[in-house]
């Protein structure tokens, strides 16, 4: 992965992506989902976090269409970067793939893909399932 360096704490997440799954953590003490992966629950400071597989459905919280290139592995602009509120109650940055106009409130589903062609990282992206 040219653009990102995983570590012991995040490897299970990226292993999941490589296996076609979106794996998140859940706190055993307060039952809330946690993203990104970490050692402590940011809600209750508990340190008992379990991994689970998310169905990868959510809602577009906001988005922007980038018209300037950022890094070669991110693909050629214009492209849509979005903040996705997953149904488990966590928010992640991602990309909308599959074309079409995006709106805030659109329902989206996971699509794991490479953005910059062969050799670029496999990333959890989303496609629009239902327009707001």
């Amino acid at each position: 992965m040219a653009d990102l360096a995983s570590d012991a704490e995040t490897q299970p997440f990226w292993d999941g992506i490589a296996a076609g799954e979106l794996r998140l953590q859940r706190c055993r003490d307060c039952a809330r989902a946690v993203f990104y992966p970490r050692a402590l629950c940011p809600h209750c400071f508990g340190d008992r976090l379990d991994w689970f597989t998310s169905p990868g459905t959510g809602t577009v919280y906001s988005y922007t269409v980038a018209h300037r290139a950022f890094s070669p592995s991110a693909g050629t602009p214009p492209y849509t970067v979005a903040l996705i509120d997953l149904d488990e109650g966590v928010r992640m940055m991602s990309r909308i793939v599959g074309g079409g106009r995006v709106r805030i409130g659109d329902r989206v589903e996971l699509e794991i893909t490479r953005l910059g062609g062969e050799g670029s990282p496999t990333l959890p992206c989303f496609r629009v399932r239902e327009t707001a």
Partner: protein
């Protein structure tokens, strides 16, 4: 309540701003520091505290202290992005109140404009950045664009309202001979400028310049000997809400909602008392969100707040009176320039230019923003 040992800004200066390939981050800070101290009638031997923010050394305060020949007994390298310097003023005032220091030197320098041609390869995204950077958001503009789109969606605000911020800033810049861009612009000019990251156009974005600045804060025991009218630090607040924009709890509410009330309460004033605003304008959206979070207007009403030239020269609430980061200068971390301008306005430095001088200015609110709406730091300054 025991009386506080008061602190005031007693000297301010910029280095050369704009394109300065002949200067380094160190020489910029040296020039600004010398000028700010000289204005106050102070010298290096008076400085016993040094405050520096930057990313040009693993320990900027050490590098700069050595370069300037200072051996301060109090060092603060707090780096929370562009709002660092408002935080530094608050920290300096607290240290003065506690009797730990007497004279603080706060500095910043940047060569980001001159560095631009050197396209260095970026290292891989590590730690929390691995969930942020691979998706190609242009930073920092893309993060502010995400906030802007959410704001427009939530309140039915418009690109025209964002553009008003840039138009007013340019009108102030026309009065500032040191401003980078001084030609008038219209709302249509902003909307017709190239799209960078929707909904933000080129003219919604701050400049990329070189530059540096310095601010000297002194305890009240020293004011009588000094050469400038002291500008008192009346209140301060700071906070953070997130680092990555993906983790910002609500994209329309910034940390100003916490830092602002804290600073106002400490100063014992209300919004109606304010004569001018210096609000960090990295992007037009930064200003609208900040005005609402500070409580200067209701959520969704900042567009109306800045409309009809209300914050432009001659308006009822002058804001960003040097032209701001949008038109005057923006060397990466803009916050020190907000303090410099507010101080000059409160000293009435521009009396010979009545258009530029806010008439009879006595109280200013200075608000810094750092990162991607990540940090907020508010300072209330008053003419003593």
């Amino acid at each position: 309540m025991s009386p506080r040992r008061r602190a005031a800004i007693v000297g301010v200066a910029e280095s050369e701003v704009g394109k300065t390939p002949h200067l380094t981050v160190l020489s910029q800070q040296a020039r600004a520091s010398r000028a700010a101290l000289a204005e106050a009638g102070l010298g290096p031997a008076d400085v016993n505290a040094l405050f520096v923010a930057g990313n040009w050394s693993w320990a900027p305060a050490l590098t700069l202290a050595e370069y300037l020949g200072l051996r301060p007994d109090y060092l603060d390298g707090t780096n929370i992005g562009g709002s660092s310097f408002e935080a530094h003023v608050g920290h300096a005032a607290a240290a003065i109140e506690a009797g730990v220091i007497d004279v603080a030197l706060i500095t910043y320098g940047s060569t980001q404009r001159s560095n631009r041609s050197r396209g260095a390869a970026r290292p891989p995204a590590t730690l929390t950045e691995q969930f942020d950077r691979p998706f190609g958001l242009p930073q920092p503009v893309g993060a502010y664009a995400l906030a802007a789109n959410r704001y427009l969606h939530q309140y039915g605000a418009t690109g025209e309202q964002l553009a008003e911020v840039a138009v007013s800033a340019r009108r102030w810049a026309a009065l500032n001979p040191d401003a980078y861009y001084r030609d008038p612009i219209t709302v249509d000019d902003v909307l017709d400028s190239p799209m960078i990251s929707e909904p933000l156009h080129l003219l919604d974005c701050c400049l990329v310049t070189d530059g540096g600045g310095a601010v000297v804060v002194a305890a009240e025991d020293r004011w009588a000997d000094l050469g400038t009218h002291p500008v008192e630090v009346l209140g301060h607040g700071e906070t953070t809400t997130h680092s990555s924009i993906a983790q910002m709890p609500d994209l329309t509410v910034t940390g100003a909602a916490r830092s602002g009330p804290t600073a106002m309460r400490m100063a014992g004033i209300t919004h109606d008392d304010l004569d001018l605003l210096e609000i960090y304008d990295s992007f037009t959206i930064t200003v609208l969100l900040t005005l609402e979070s500070l409580g200067l207007c209701k959520p969704g009403e900042a567009g109306e707040f800045v409309a009809h030239g209300r914050t432009a020269p001659g308006g009822e609430m002058p804001m960003n009176t040097n032209g701001g980061g949008l038109s005057y200068t923006h060397p990466g971390m803009y916050g020190i320039f907000l303090l410099i301008e507010a101080t000059r306005q409160l000293r009435h430095d521009f009396v010979s230019d009545p258009d530029r001088q806010v008439d009879g200015a006595r109280l200013a609110l200075v608000h810094g923003t750092g990162g991607v709406l990540s940090s907020a730091s508010t300072v209330v300054l008053g003419r003593s």
